[in-house]
């Protein structure tokens, strides 16, 4: 299906330039083999009928020596998915570095739960600090002792263990150690085989994290809580308090959040999450696995939503209301939207004259490179180029391409859980007729259209962008703003171009929901119109000729 789009002769323009030519320039410097590979990962977008887009190669190995944005499996597992859960003692089993670098560096805000039995281990870093003796003789004994000491010192409800590269190599069996310690201590202890070398990016770690949380935590508490419209929010990590703003909106609408995976999360909420009636997916890449498994095992359907952008937020709220199908909820959602939108529109009207027509580029992890295009649209800004650090083809082209994705050796190494309906607890939340009716009204279940169909024809979609490519497109287009992570930030800014971190939000935010949209408008206005970009040249560099000389007597 994607063939038709690829063979098209139609030529597009991008910012007055030929994107195909720019692609050629990007590849020209590479050794032949590298160029051949990168050519499949750099795509000039073309949206055909039925949202067909060209094939983009992704989730393939990073080219050694090309400076990439990517991190590792451990980072995806411990840093992204489990990191934000406040009441688990997360022990990194390995030399000190991995634990140290993932200590508080991902900006997940958390409500610390100061009740007497509440826990917050977020500001702590726990590590077995492996030494060479453990590399030679094995680290299981030390790990066991470390789990015991964590228990003795902190009395947590749960302890999780994360394997780093050498653990996999020397063959420490963390799962057996965890099982033994679970029996010995009587608390939940579970492990993750998330060695850094697994898979090709952080994405492998997300998958491993989801599997283990699903196996060891989800479904442990069957209590059905209060609330008429009970949902889980998946793939929302509460960077800069995004989840708090979304919670505020839900509360106003009368929607109850059973669990958020995993911003501001707690292990008890995970344990109870299967009792919700609908799963909402924010970051498709990091967590679609959990939604899929929960649907199969417990009958909870899932829909893709997006709370980045005011319009997207309103659309997502309406989608949820339509799913529950009650006038009461629909009315309330409409009332909330009507109440919230004027302030957003006023903010947008104020900044738009200063942002209209400016151009952005976004290269970040999971869904942010897609979602934030909504906010730029609301500012009248065009996205010239975008791509992901660790996406798979479905994140670009939509889930309809799933059957055509070939599983390679690097992905095959990651456990694929076989999930069956739970004999007692499987409970389809909607009858097949109801689902059919909803589908007929335009509601899409278990679907995601991907990033490319929503981007303009001719825009450059680049998977796993390299430092060299980043520099080249910056030099070529001189975008008005570039969005990426900390490693790229100062490189881009030395070029005199503002760089917005979309992982940490540059310690601003929230940017989700209605209030978040207002924050983002103001932030982008500040950045693209900052006076500092006018200071790059000293007066004597701007005008080096001497206009006059002072004469001495």
């Amino acid at each position: 299906m994607a063939k038709a789009a690829e063979n098209s002769e139609e030529k597009f323009e991008l910012d007055g330039m030929d994107p195909e030519k720019i692609k050629e320039e990007l590849l020209a410097k590479y050794p032949t083999k590298v160029a051949r590979k990168r050519a499949k990962q750099i795509i000039v977008n073309k949206v055909g009928a039925d949202e067909e887009v060209p094939v983009i190669q992704s989730n393939v190995r990073t080219v050694p020596g090309l400076i990439s944005q990517r991190g590792c499996c451990y980072a995806g597992c411990k840093g992204v998915v489990l990191g934000p859960t406040r009441d688990i003692v997360n022990i990194t089993h390995g030399p000190i570095g991995c634990g140290f670098y993932s200590w508080l560096t991902r900006r997940n805000q958390t409500d610390p739960d100061t009740t007497p039995d509440g826990h917050n281990f977020m500001p702590y870093c726990f590590s077995t600090d492996m030494q060479d003796q453990q590399i030679i003789f094995g680290g299981e004994k030390k790990l066991k002792q470390a789990i015991q000491e964590a228990y003795d010192n902190f009395h947590p409800k749960a302890i999780a263990v994360f394997s780093t590269c050498p653990v996999g190599l020397i063959g420490d069996d963390v799962h057996t150690v965890c099982r033994q310690m679970k029996e010995a201590l009587g608390i939940n202890v579970f492990g993750f085989s998330c060695e850094g070398y697994k898979g090709v990016s952080q994405s492998a770690g997300h998958h491993i994290a989801n599997n283990q949380i699903f196996k060891h935590v989800v479904g442990l508490d069957n209590t059905v809580g209060d609330g008429e419209y009970r949902i889980n929010l998946l793939g929302e990590y509460n960077i800069g308090g995004d989840a708090f703003e979304i919670d505020r909106i839900f509360e106003k609408c009368g929607i109850t959040v059973v669990s958020t995976f995993s911003g501001n999360s707690s292990i008890d909420k995970f344990a109870n999450s299967h009792t919700a009636d609908l799963n909402l997916i924010m970051c498709h890449r990091s967590i679609n696995y959990v939604a899929e498994m929960m649907e199969t095992k417990y009958g909870v359907p899932w829909i893709k939503i997006n709370f980045i952008g005011a319009e997207a937020t309103a659309k997502s709220l309406r989608k949820i209301a339509r799913y529950f199908g009650e006038q009461k909820l629909t009315d309330r959602v409409e009332a909330v939207i009507a109440e919230e939108l004027p302030a957003v529109q006023a903010a947008s009207a104020e900044v738009r004259p200063r942002t209209e027509g400016k151009r952005a580029m976004l290269f970040v992890g999971g869904s942010r490179a897609h979602h934030y295009q909504e906010l730029f649209n609301e500012l009248g800004m065009e996205t010239l180029s975008a791509g992901y650090e660790f996406a798979h083809r479905d994140d670009y082209e939509g889930r309809k391409v799933l059957p055509t994705i070939k599983v390679d050796a690097d992905s095959r190494n990651i456990e694929e859980l076989e999930i069956h309906p739970d004999p007692e607890r499987y409970n389809p939340r909607k009858s097949e007729e109801d689902l059919e009716e909803l589908r007929a009204s335009g509601m899409e279940f278990s679907g995601y259209e991907g990033m490319m169909p929503t981007m303009k024809n001719g825009s450059l979609v680049i998977d796993d962008i390299s430092q060299y490519e980043t520099e080249t497109i910056i030099e070529t287009f001189k975008p008005d703003i570039f969005c990426a992570g900390i490693k790229e930030k100062y490189i881009v800014q030395k070029h005199g171009i503002p760089m917005k971190q979309l992982h940490s939000y540059d310690y601003g935010g929230p940017y989700a929901g209605f209030k978040g949209a207002i924050n983002f408008y103001k932030e982008i206005d500040r950045m693209v119109n900052s006076k500092v970009w006018g200071y790059l040249k000293a007066p004597w560099q701007v005008n080096p000729e001497l206009a006059a000389t002072y004469a001495w007597e």
Binding site: S68, G99, L536
Partner: protein, 459 residues
């Protein structure tokens, strides 16, 4: 309370490190590599390592930090990383054109036992290393030592790979500045310049990790020691190495390889350590100390005497890298302050611990020292008996907030403030800055805590 699970009672821990006061070797090697002009550091292992190291250094310096990786996947972990490193070397020279590639290993490549020189020789034989370009390496297993050892190992590799002895001695002095900030390196060079000494400093991250914003990005900034200068280190009259742990190995290697005698001294933090630097330089180079430096020294002594009442007897908790901690402890003792709790995460050894004990032997009260220790223990000591001032990296801010103790940032990493890469803490000027910081912290607290009656205008 952010660290509310930290108990006052201390339970012995043998296996669990909580809130480490160190990190792993490769990041130190990466930092040292950036101090060679035109160098692209390369991490031989899986890509998570270089991503973390680049992120951590970027957050600390708020500057571009470029490095590459061998990007191991499972296959490379089983069959060895040769193919990955060969491809990486080819790609780096083709795309990024560095003068030097500085390879350091990770726990992954160390555990599988990749032989870097053999792989580099193969790359050279296959024509993947252009004429006049260098690939150097060091071994930095993460499960040995700390980031300080990584720095020391890469600095030593600069000697192993480059230093040459032509037999003709030059009137230059080698300076090995230790694991300090770019501005500290610059300040040490300025002091040597005031003495009229020609120097070669390595590594040298000044102008690399505190560069200007001009609208033009340079992948290889102006700073850094050149490979030509590194070669000439073998012909210098002598070497002055600062910080025994970070600089000692390179200084001794240079002595062994090229017969350049070395003096290994403390980091020049504080009055006496700066005196020692200048006196050592004077003697090694055979020069007189100019009035300008003696004048700066006098200014520093003046501040100490003017404000002595505020320093006297104040108890300090100190956590950081061994070379820094030792120099800072001596400085605090010289101010009649009381370093009460001292922790370094780096396993710096018995001799080091003994040196710390020696420095603090006359400090009133019990001085608690743990080498290597972690910040949980440090915090527990503070809970048992508080101190008046905390000195350490950004992570200490959690303890400072919970226990309501004045805090100044020093060391690595500093993630939440600027200044450390621009304003030195070495030399007399750096010492004056440290005095200012200490006084600001203590006097701000005094102002905050005093009653309306006691609130002083003149202090």
């Amino acid at each position: 309370m952010l660290l509310r699970h930290t108990t006052t009672e201390i339970k012995e821990r043998k296996a669990l490190t909580v809130n480490p006061a160190k990190t792993c070797q490769p990041i130190g090697a990466m930092y040292a590599s950036l101090g060679i002009h035109g160098c692209l550091p390369h991490s031989h292992g899986s890509q998570g390592c270089y991503a973390y190291h680049r992120s951590a250094l970027t957050r600390h310096y708020k500057e571009p930090v470029l490095a590459a990786t061998s990007a191991f996947t499972e296959g490379a972990s089983v069959f060895g990383g040769q193919a990955n490193l060969l491809q990486a070397i080819d790609n780096m020279f083709t795309v990024y054109n560095p003068d030097v590639i500085a390879v350091h290993t990770t726990c992954l490549s160390e555990t599988i036992g990749d032989d870097i020189p053999q792989i580099v020789n193969k790359a050279r034989a296959e024509g993947k290393v252009p004429e006049g370009k260098y690939v150097i390496h060091t071994n930095t297993p993460s499960y040995v030592g700390s980031h300080v050892d990584g720095f020391a190992n890469m600095t030593r590799s600069m000697v192993d790979y480059f230093s040459e002895s032509t037999g003709h001695k030059e009137k230059t002095i080698n300076l090995i500045p230790g694991y300090v900030e770019p501005c500290d390196m610059e300040e040490i060079r300025r002091i040597a310049g005031e003495l009229g000494i020609r120097t070669i400093m390595f590594p040298d991250t000044s102008k690399v990790l505190n560069g200007p914003m001009t609208g033009k990005y340079r992948m290889y900034p102006e700073g850094g020691v050149t490979t030509d200068a590194l070669k000439k280190t073998g012909d210098s009259m002598g070497t002055v190495a600062m910080g025994a742990l970070a600089s000692g190995p390179a200084a001794r290697a240079l002595d062994a390889k090229c017969k350049v005698p070395c003096e290994i001294i403390d980091l020049p933090i504080g009055l006496h350590a700066t005196d020692m630097l200048i006196d050592t330089l004077r003697q090694v180079a055979g020069v007189n100390v100019p009035e300008s430096l003696t004048f700066e020294r006098g200014q520093m002594v003046d501040i100490i005497s003017d404000m002595h009442q505020y320093f006297y007897g104040k108890r300090v908790g100190l956590v950081g890298d061994p070379d820094q901690v030792l120099a800072l402890t001596k400085f605090l003792v010289s101010l009649d302050m009381c370093p009460a709790y001292i922790i370094t995460g780096t396993p710096a050894g018995k001799k080091y611990e003994k040196a710390l004990r020696e420095v603090t032997k006359d400090v009133p009260g019990e001085v608690k020292i743990k080498v290597p220790g972690d910040m949980l223990l440090f915090h527990q000591w503070i809970k048992q008996e508080p101190v008046d001032l905390l000195i350490g990296n950004t992570y200490v801010k959690y303890i400072a907030r919970d226990e309501d103790i004045p805090f100044i940032r020093h060391g690595f990493p500093i993630l939440d403030r600027v200044g450390h890469s621009y304003f030195p803490t070495v030399g007399y000027r750096g010492g004056m800055r440290l005095l200012e910081k200490i006084l600001d912290a203590l006097l701000d607290r005094k102002d905050r805590d005093s009653t309306d009656i006691e609130f002083e205008l003149v202090m």
